[in-house]
Symmetry: C4
Subunit: 250 residues, 4 copies
């Protein structure tokens, strides 16, 4: 069982980790589904993730409307989160960001972005590329309404990460800790792959069996996973906030 | 209406942001046109942008002469600013810098530097390359007089950014906040493009329609734009200086 | 003669240096053989190396069992260390890490990772690549038991460093100071080599004679080696801990 | 006229700047010729440049012997400095370092390292590559005696910078401020050139006339040069030490 207070605390930590690890900057956001109401999710108000505190966390319905009246601006692209939570009941957390090193893989189509390092395995076997122009023509490239969010979710399908052409990516996972991990290792996997392309020769991607084996062994509170969460929180200056959201606080 | 005191304050912030975001170092500068006297602009004295304070801001006429007698050294290349302000009445702010990752695009001519990521859209459809040698032969590559500044402005034409071969770039925009944004995202766009070239295959640049759509939606005080300005100011250690230059101070 | 107390102190310093030099992050570890009992080695409990203190150092037998009962989690991949210490009586210290810039050389097979810079000479003439799949099929890529550790050690053979496909590397050396040095310079050598490949043309690797000459001249307490150790410790914030493990403490 | 006390102070600043700008790390060094005794030069004792203080500066004769008896270790490679000062009476300061981004240009021979950006112009028209193996066969690649230093100086000839295959570079200039500037911009020029090669197409190097024009305009105390020196000193934490070595102290 997940305790809501601890989960929202984890969401603040997630914002700070993603900022410190340079996955997000002024832009990009991370959300978590309400543990007791699957038709709602939590996301910060419009603010750089590095600056997010508990007071900045808002509750939304899946169509991107704040549950409580809110006068502060909200993220334009909250429909990414709503669209994915709606389409994927198994998903408990979503990250959207523009991490620089994944962008090339959405701009050209010559090399599929797939896991080449063990820590990238959670990307899964396939990372689809969503081009907003395919259905919506000339836009400002932002996912600015529910229809666009739903189209993105459709492209994501059953996979874990979708590249957004000329824009960034969205990742979805079974837990907040897992989606942060995926978002942190995604650019590393992209860099390793780009450099392998530069060296030339045939690329050894992780096999389907290896991806499955890693997936089976994953647990958000295993010592290995927890070690990274604590380490990243510490680096991001919020080590003191770390709690176990699977346990009562205090 | 822009309040002068706030605008000069913004110019200090702009200097600090460009330094912190590694667009400028010891060299490079940012200017803003006088909001009430279109034949004048503000620019720091000769100083690394990271060290600029309000006392370092000077007022210049478009031919690069300080309005008040000034004994401290001034930037050699102030003619970049004067030349562009003279040729482009629509331009309210100019950045000149040597950001490392844009340099290759001025040294070779094989890949046009154009927007490939949504945050690079403000570069516009075309980025001309100015080679000072074309008209002035063997120089020290610096824009050291008004004639050279005017020639650069002519090459810039109606576009937003011009590359300077073996030297750097100049960007021009409708507001200080916009030109800082352009200068910050320019190197990121350049890096994404270079890596896409390294991956190989056909590059998907932003379409004309996408560039237009983004341009129409831009406002210097929209929540999205303002979020980045506040974030960058905070990172640069001048978050406490932020005011709204479209409002009276205090 | 090595004094145990100083050696364990050095192991803490080694953890911090490897973290600060970005060889390890949340993952990766460094061990040292017991100076008086060659069938035992010291390694931290499961913890990010940046956070390791003397209380976190545990003693293991070569099959990866803690000598004293231990309730805190231990590294899953301690078998890398045990396997190498077992197979190589000359080896006194081992590093395992995922340093990003060496990964491409295990993902493609087109360019051998060998010394191209003098500080990379300690890699030796040949760096084998171990693919866990060759013998163990589809795994989670981790070295999770003694048999896998022994197989890795067999692939390492008489060499100093072995790449692990899609995962990282393991380095082995005659002393802790030497293995830290090797691990720090390994990614630098990899980057220089990758960039040389990008420039194109025939690569001048260090010759066998040069590698031998450097190897003969090496001493862990020579002024040159010691200079780097002190420098790195200082950068990592543990300059105050530095002692000479070949001398009595105090 | 140069005042000795200020010059030695500048040498400390130069050490710190080169460390902060990542030209040197634990290794690499900078020297200055004695302003009144052209057969002597100043160089730190064996110490990471980041840690150098006035007490660490030693005086050497051109054959690499300390003028005063010295019990602390000295740099093995001081012969680089002696060799160049002996062969080049016009040279007043020398830097030797291993800056990572210049290494590829000494490992392969396909692309000459020459100025492509205006701030790289002080490299001059040609940068020779010295391979220690050509004359000395299999060595540890270090310049460990006067004969090797003299051979390096011979390869440098009349130029400003010489690459050392698999090792690093040596730069020589008319003043300490100029040689630091050269060493800082050398890796930047190398990076811009490497990326231009990656983009493909014909590279526009600076012309001979441009190199000459920049060289003629250079002065160590011009506002532009001094601006960078002050900026770098400030970044390196020694802004408070800055004096003008062409003026009496205090």
């Amino acid at each position: 069982m997940v305790h809501l207070e601890n989960l929202l605390n984890d969401l603040v930590i997630a914002n700070r980790i993603l900022a410190h690890e340079q996955v997000v900057d002024a832009y990009g956001h991370v959300s978590v589904r309400h543990p007791e109401r699957s038709d709602r999710f939590f996301l910060a108000r419009s603010l750089a993730p590095e600056l997010v505190t508990p007071d900045d966390i808002l509750e939304f319905t899946l169509d991107g409307k704040p549950v409580k009246e809110e006068r502060r601006p909200v993220y334009l692209e909250r429909f990414i989160h709503g669209g994915i939570f709606e389409a994927r009941p198994d998903v408990m957390a979503v990250v959207h960001a523009h991490a620089e090193d994944i962008l090339p893989f959405g701009i050209v189509n010559s090399t599929p972005l797939r896991p080449v390092i063990h820590s990238g395995s959670f990307l899964g076997t396939h990372v689809p590329i969503w081009d907003i122009a395919d259905r919506f023509g000339d836009t400002n490239l932002l996912v600015a309404n529910l229809e666009q969010g739903q189209d993105l979710a459709k492209c994501l399908g059953k996979w874990n990460t979708v590249l957004m052409r000329g824009h960034g990516f969205a990742s979805a996972a079974r837990s907040l800790i897992e989606v942060v991990r995926m978002a942190v290792f995604l650019p590393r996997n992209a860099r390793a792959l780009l450099k392998a392309v530069q060296l030339g020769g045939q690329i050894k991607y992780l096999s389907q069996g290896e991806i499955d084996a890693r997936n089976r062994g994953y647990g958000p509170y295993s010592p290995e996973t927890w070690r990274a969460w604590e380490y990243w929180a510490n680096k991001a200056g919020v080590g003191n906030l770390v709690t176990r959201s699977d346990r009562p606080k205090g």
